[in-house]
């Protein structure tokens, strides 16, 4: 135990000059020191709830003029016209939900696949590198995803993917894939978001799958299940609520993601049926218009959008944490 020796060395010199002058004084001194120490760390811990309350308070107060002016219609009106002084957040709300939904549809199967691969199929030497590469996606700054989206993803979408979906697969007949392929679009935003949330979903689902007890798997195999049947019957049901938590956590990321989306979504305050059409998300609306806001009501309306975004992500994140926490507690018990 080398660490014990190391820890003791400074301690001994300390106690030599602290011990002789009788026990009571030391205990008293310790009492004051302990109290200061305890108060200090408690205050710092209180900093976390204080910060959250402060953010909530500041954003709510700033959003209040717009919320009072437009009331509930702020969420349902699709009329966002700063010049006319009309502000309805419906297009941004719609864009946020649609782009996040696309991201979830694309990223969830992939994340689950890679998690199953890592926890069940991967040879030992491949496990760490693949996990590392997927996790590394989370380290890339949002603005770099945006840059990549503008100059690599969008040209590919415009010249290959969009014409392929619309004409070759004849999906152009449905409103979802119709219209001209400009490039910057809801689809581009959803795809970028899918890549960005992939590491979050896969990290959580991988962890809960690996936490499934060995005995569960062995029992399934002993009953004659194939490996896939073992995964479907023993691993996934056990890890289910944790996986759902991971997916919702990814959703929370997608809802609030700002820079990459702002750079590829086209920024237009309209509700369009086609995924090829440009749109807005709540985050990209704020990023795009905040510094050029024309007047106090416009600014307050953007704050109100921020307020809605704050509340939505708060609920989504709290739900996800609760689910993950519940699973890990069940696995522990």
């Amino acid at each position: 135990m080398p660490e014990a020796n190391r820890a003791e060395t400074p301690g001994q010199t300390e106690s030599i000059d602290a011990q002789p002058p009788a026990a009571p004084s030391r205990i008293q001194g310790g009492g004051v020191g302990d109290r200061i120490y305890s108060i200090t760390i408690t205050l710092m811990a209180l900093g976390v709830p204080a910060l959250l309350l402060l953010i909530f308070g500041v954003v709510t107060v700033a959003a209040w003029p717009a919320l009072r002016t437009f009331g509930f219609g702020f969420l349902t009106s699709s009329d966002w016209d700063p010049v006319a002084g009309k502000f309805g957040a419906a297009p941004a709300l719609f864009g946020t939900l649609v782009s996040s939904l696309i991201a979830l549809i694309l990223a969830t199967p992939l994340a689950l696949g890679v998690s199953v691969f890592l926890s069940e199929f991967a040879p030992a030497w491949l496990r760490r590198p693949v996990a590392f590469v997927v996790d590394l996606l989370a380290a890339i700054p949002s603005v770099v995803y945006g840059l990549w989206g503008i100059f690599v993803l969008i040209p590919i979408l415009r010249t290959y993917v969009m014409p392929f979906l619309r004409d070759t697969l004849h999906l152009g007949a449905t409103p979802l894939f119709s219209g001209p392929a400009y490039g910057p679009s809801m689809l581009a935003a959803g795809m970028i978001l899918a890549i960005m949330i992939l590491p979050y979903i896969s990290a959580v689902s991988r962890e809960v799958m690996m936490a499934v007890p060995r005995s569960q798997r062995e029992a399934a195999l002993a009953l004659g299940a194939t490996r896939w049947e073992m995964i479907r019957g023993a691993v996934i049901p056990f890890a289910k609520s944790g996986i759902i938590g991971g997916v919702i956590l990814g959703l929370g990321r997608a809802l609030g993601e700002t820079m990459a989306v702002t750079m590829v979504i086209g920024n237009r305050a309209e509700i369009a049926a086609s995924l090829f059409a440009p749109g807005y998300t709540m985050a990209s609306l704020i990023a795009n218009e905040f510094s050029e806001a024309t007047g106090d009501l416009h600014l307050s309306a953007l704050m109100a959008v921020g307020f809605v975004l704050f509340v939505v992500t708060l609920i989504v994140n709290a739900g996800a944490r609760w689910l993950v926490w519940r699973t890990s507690r069940e696995a522990g018990a």
């Binding site: 710092m44 840059l147 990549w148 100059f151 929370g252 990321r253 820079m259 905040f290 510094s291 709290a318």
Partner: protein
């Protein structure tokens, strides 16, 4: 194998799903490979010495660099750490020491919630709280926004690292007559130090690339500024402005800046990894 037979259909499904999972693994690693490849291919050709030593060229003019943005990012991250690290580490120690206390449960939960807060919301919060009273954009407000973003991450990693310290260590110290605060400062924290540093570095790497909280706070600056009281340039902001601008030369600069930013982030992450490794040999064994 001989006792029973797996039907061909079940076996086929098994083979098919196995192939599908392999395919998913390949597909999931593809984006990173592609992004890094593009970054290297486009970034290296645009990167030259001037990028590190010169100021941005005026719009439309070729050349120039991002020296001010590199320094600006360092200043912003430093300022954020000065504010975010102490609170985060203190809160983390609290969580580790009072595991089950009601306040600890609440703080832990709220830290996780705060961690998922959209960075743009942090931006408008810092704008309202710092920029509006000061009447102008400033490096200070940017550092404040980034520092606030660090707190929940640092809190949770610190907690985890302090928790790993064996209780026998602190019990031994207490039994020898150490007071609680001395046990914490002399025994527990030094043992967990490498881990705490790792957590801090991970948080640093994360905020170094943040753009949204800086849009309306640090704002960006085309000239030299080291003052906390003035708008300041930052690499992520520079990438955003260049990437969405009209000039080819700007786009090349954006790729170069992205490469430098990624290199910076990966460097900090690698440092974090080394800190953990040495921490494990020292702390827990």
């Amino acid at each position: 194998m001989t006792a029973f037979r797996t039907s061909p259909r079940r076996r086929a499904i098994n083979v098919f799903m196995t192939a599908l999972m392999w395919a998913a693994a390949v597909a999931a690693t593809l984006p990173l490979v592609l992004i890094l490849f593009n970054l290297l291919a486009k970034g290296v050709t645009s990167l030259d010495l001037a990028f590190f030593t010169h100021l941005p060229a005026p719009p439309g003019q070729e050349g120039g660099g991002a020296a001010n943005a590199i320094v600006g990012t360092v200043i912003l991250v430093g300022g954020a750490s000065a504010f975010g690290l102490p609170i985060g580490i203190g809160a983390g120690i609290y969580l580790a020491e009072r595991k089950g206390a009601p306040l600890a449960v609440l703080v832990r939960f709220l830290a996780d919630v705060l961690n998922g807060l959209p960075s743009i919301v942090m931006g408008i919060f810092a704008w309202e709280l710092v920029v509006v009273p000061m009447h102008h954009f400033s490096a200070l407000s940017g550092a404040f926004a980034l520092g606030a973003m660090m707190i929940p991450t640092v809190t949770r990693t610190t907690e985890e690292m302090v928790r790993v310290v064996p209780t026998t260590l602190s019990e031994a110290a207490l039994a020898l007559g150490y007071t609680r605060w001395r046990t914490a400062l002399r025994i527990v924290i030094p043992t967990a130090l490498a881990g705490i540093i790792t957590g801090a570095l991970v948080a640093l790497a994360r905020i170094a690339g943040e753009t949204a909280p800086l849009l309306f706070t640090a704002f960006g600056n085309n000239f030299w500024s080291l003052s906390l009281n003035k708008p300041i340039a930052a690499l992520p902001l520079q990438i955003f402005n260049y990437a969405t601008g009209p000039y080819d030369d700007w786009h090349a600069q954006a790729w170069a800046a992205s490469l430098v930013l990624i290199a910076l982030v990966l460097l900090i992450s690698l440092l974090a990894r080394f800190a953990t490794r040495s921490g494990f040999s020292r702390g827990v064994e």
